[in-house]
Symmetry: C2
Subunit: 142 residues, 2 copies
Amino acid sequence: MEKLDGLKLENQLCFPLYACSKEIIRRYKPLLNELDLTYTQYITMMVLWDKKEINVKTLGEKIFLDSGTLTPVLKKLESKGYIERNRASDDERNLIITITKKGENLRNKAKNIPQKVGKCVNLSEKEAMELYKLLYKVLGKF
Amino acid sequence: MEKLDGLKLENQLCFPLYACSKEIIRRYKPLLNELDLTYTQYITMMVLWDKKEINVKTLGEKIFLDSGTLTPVLKKLESKGYIERNRASDDERNLIITITKKGENLRNKAKNIPQKVGKCVNLSEKEAMELYKLLYKVLGKF
DNA sequence: ATAAATTAAATTGTGTACAATCTAATTGTT
DNA sequence: AACAATTAGATTGTACACAATTTAATTTAT
């Protein structure tokens, strides 16, 4: 019985995960360039398209990023006019992110991106759903 | 028939992929800290443990990184004494990365890392294999 | 044989990512 | 009330990640 080499790149789950994540993000890049958004800015906007208003902490929990990453991203999105940053009046520690009209409008330009990216992923509907479920199962453990 | 909102974070494959990749790498961090390696340095060393010698271009193709990322990583690994960087005598454009004795020795300290990380991923053997296959299927398309 | 094209790394510039620390606001405790 | 503890963001420092450009070596085409 051949012993599998645990320290080979190909035998670890983490590596295809890491590679796959990067490669898919690379597929988004040309589409996001047209909207002048980076991938991180895009997932931030997706949350705002859904929620309209959210504080930095809750946003960070949703997209797995801390204030060290988010602060510059949000300042950038503010400078582009897609969001506003205001302290909550009832608790000045909280920074409330609000989507602007311009930010809302961006949604129309973005709406066919998921479909376009989906097309260049070589999986059947069923496989994609299976992958989706497995990934969320792994995430659930954390 | 309810139409699925394609622009919701939860309905896109890319997001759980991105989140999962980061969360798994986070699991590695404390273990890699003991070896004074970052994740990128670790996957680089994994290739070298396997190959002993490789040029930057081939290495980059294996781990999906370009010279812009690899040059500083390799200089760092060289400064730690794990690798050597030398131009190929037959074609001076090529930089040959060679593992050192010290780099070889690091392998022993690393050998139980995959198993430890595997334990904190909430998947059965069968599910992990399924996930593995789906990820490589996606990567295969590129 | 030499100029043009190609190739491999390195460099530069922008944008994450995240640990650690800092600051200010709020809450809990005595 | 007053001080300690907690909390939310911002800041700092290190390390990727990658596009675009540059440099030097090699190959191709004339």
